[in-house]
Symmetry: C2
Subunit: 356 residues, 2 copies
């Protein structure tokens, strides 16, 4: 239940604009917005709404308190004070916002348009803030209706687009979309002091023919250390064991205007026989470390030279990277990985523990 509470909240409190969020609600990264919008445990049903068989909700508006005062009056007069407003089916979120129920959207776009407007009016009266509308691909006909109704795209994934509407005046405080891609590169060196290198089949012209370490993006929901091991295995067939992250690069405005974090890892080989992935790798081999380092494209480039220097320092036990440790915080009951260096003891002022 504690986990649900933490995950159930939407952030709407900040002085930032819509593309910027700041709601790390704890010491380290305990988020306060929902894991999934289709997961109904994250939010409570609007207590005052009821749903008919067509999926529309009826909401008794502010006039309800007057009802008893006008008992016995004719219908016309009564309706002035007791108005039933039809809204889309929705859930309240815990940050004063609303999540429209994607499972109960009207079948007719005109009905949707009409209900969307009356719903927005209702939510404005109720002082709601951020409105979330997730439209699955099969309801794409409602996208232009929502946009016409003032909704903005928030993010999309294969299968759905998420739109939002910010009711209060002032900047939108809803959380931003994901901002980074995460890549990994794996230095694998064997007992003969040979580095595992590949030539990519399809790469940008400046890199054609270069012998480089295996690299790639980590999968969604994949650990950095798992991604590095997987990439090496996929490209070369070599089994490895993750040792540590020795450095990472942060670059801006890469694909789709997003940023990029690239983690350079040290991996320990567990096998020797190379099997190249024909789809993307032209060739792979074990290359003597000296030969690898002396490649002009490394020696002539400040970035690649520095990374190689760090790798050599690591080999010479003159460098400490960050090791991966599984930890669970009791506050969100989430198993995550904390990467950190070796904390030296009184009697340990020399080198890193673990790894090579």
């Amino acid at each position: 239940m504690e986990l649900r509470l933490i995950e159930a909240k939407f952030p709407t409190f900040s002085n930032n604009v819509c593309s910027i969020t700041k709601f790390h609600s704890s010491f380290i990264s305990v988020h306060s917005y929902p894991k999934s919008y289709s997961n109904k445990v994250m939010c409570s049903r609007a207590p005052e709404s009821t749903t008919d068989s067509k999926g529309n909700s009826s909401t008794l508006l502010l006039q309800r308190p007057f009802m008893s005062r006008f008992t016995g009056l004719n219908g016309a007069l009564s309706s002035l004070f007791f108005t039933e407003t039809r809204t889309l089916d929705y859930f309240d979120d815990e940050y004063g916002g609303v999540i429209i129920n994607s499972d109960k959207l009207p079948t007719n776009p005109n009905d949707f348009a009409s209900l969307l407007q009356s719903s927005l009016s209702h939510w404005k009266i109720k002082g709601k803030k951020g409105i979330w509308l997730k439209l699955p691909s099969e309801r794409a006909e409602l996208v232009p209706v929502a946009v016409k109704g003032g909704f903005q795209y928030h993010h999309a994934e294969q299968g759905y687009v998420m739109l939002t509407y910010w009711i209060p005046e002032g900047p939108c405080m809803l959380p931003a979309n994901a901002s980074h891609q995460v890549g990994v590169g794996g230095f694998v060196i064997n007992e003969k002091n040979e580095v595992l290198v590949v030539q990519e089949k399809y790469c940008a012209p400046p890199f054609v023919g270069f012998w480089k370490i295996p690299t790639g993006f980590i999968h969604e929901s994949e650990e950095i250390f798992t991604g590095a091991v997987r990439e090496v295995k996929e490209e070369t067939g070599i089994d490895t064991e993750f040792t540590e992250v020795i450095a990472f690069r942060h670059a801006q405005n890469m694909a789709f205007e997003k940023s990029d974090l690239f983690f350079i890892c040290i991996l320990k080989p567990l096998s020797t026989g190379i099997k190249v992935d024909d789809h993307e790798i032209e060739a792979a081999k074990w290359m003597p470390l000296v030969e690898f380092v002396e490649q002009p494209w490394i020696q002539d480039d400040s970035m690649f030279k520095k990374v190689t220097d760090i790798f050599i320092a690591k080999m010479g036990k003159k460098y400490c990277g960050l090791h991966a440790h599984h930890l669970i915080s009791k506050f969100d009951d989430r198993s995550s990985t904390l990467y950190y260096n070796v904390v030296k003891t009184e009697h340990d002022s020399s080198n890193c523990k673990g790894s090579y």
Copy 2:
């Protein structure tokens, strides 16, 4: 020009599924897909297409080579071999794909539907792979048409939705959307051994009343070290200087099913007077280190305890974090930041350089 070439390419070569990409084309993170789809330097105009005043392109199909062989035949017969196919205006990308020109979409959705189908037929014949369609909000009426035509959502940002169509049989090889949010937390300690702490105004119930370090998400296109300094300034009014990253946490399946990377930074205070951000911070103060560490919510939690231990080790010069270094790779002419530890020299086996 070199930069353009590197950025101009779409990756379509991989044995992964659509949500997975692997096209780090170099040693470290030189991407091979475009920075922006609206940036036309990234791709070349399809050489065989011409555009009329309505923004539609005419493309001479495969039959063109037969033209001279049937000169003099009647129109009906000639049309069997010389067919003019109208397509949407588009650009080729360098990975065998196509980018539909968002600036020249037909005004009428029915025309768009018809042209989209004939275009897809044309691109299939030409052996094209990934098709990219960016629809700005003001053309939202075309979204259902594209989805009906087989396009899938790829990603969306405020102002547009990007859809894709993968022509070849087999898994889609187009690059995935951004996968991570990036947060920062700043340890700031003054000369009196006091830590800068805040109480958040709006946080999940388990954290109410906790004194914690300032945290937040980094902005799009913001450096980690800049984001940490900004967050501390915004929440407390204290000016700081970034020293190093001492650890980072990687957590899966956070907001919108995306992952989260949280970097714990050490910052050096440059001012002392606290000015609380009323929008999101309840209170801020300088708290004696011992008092901060002894808080039950830190002592009782493995994650927060470990991070605090690392911080204390750092204060005691028994820990080395990663420092930020600007580096430019000549291969992409891009200024990025490489975070790495101190490389020890022959005569330096003791502690970290720089920082505290």
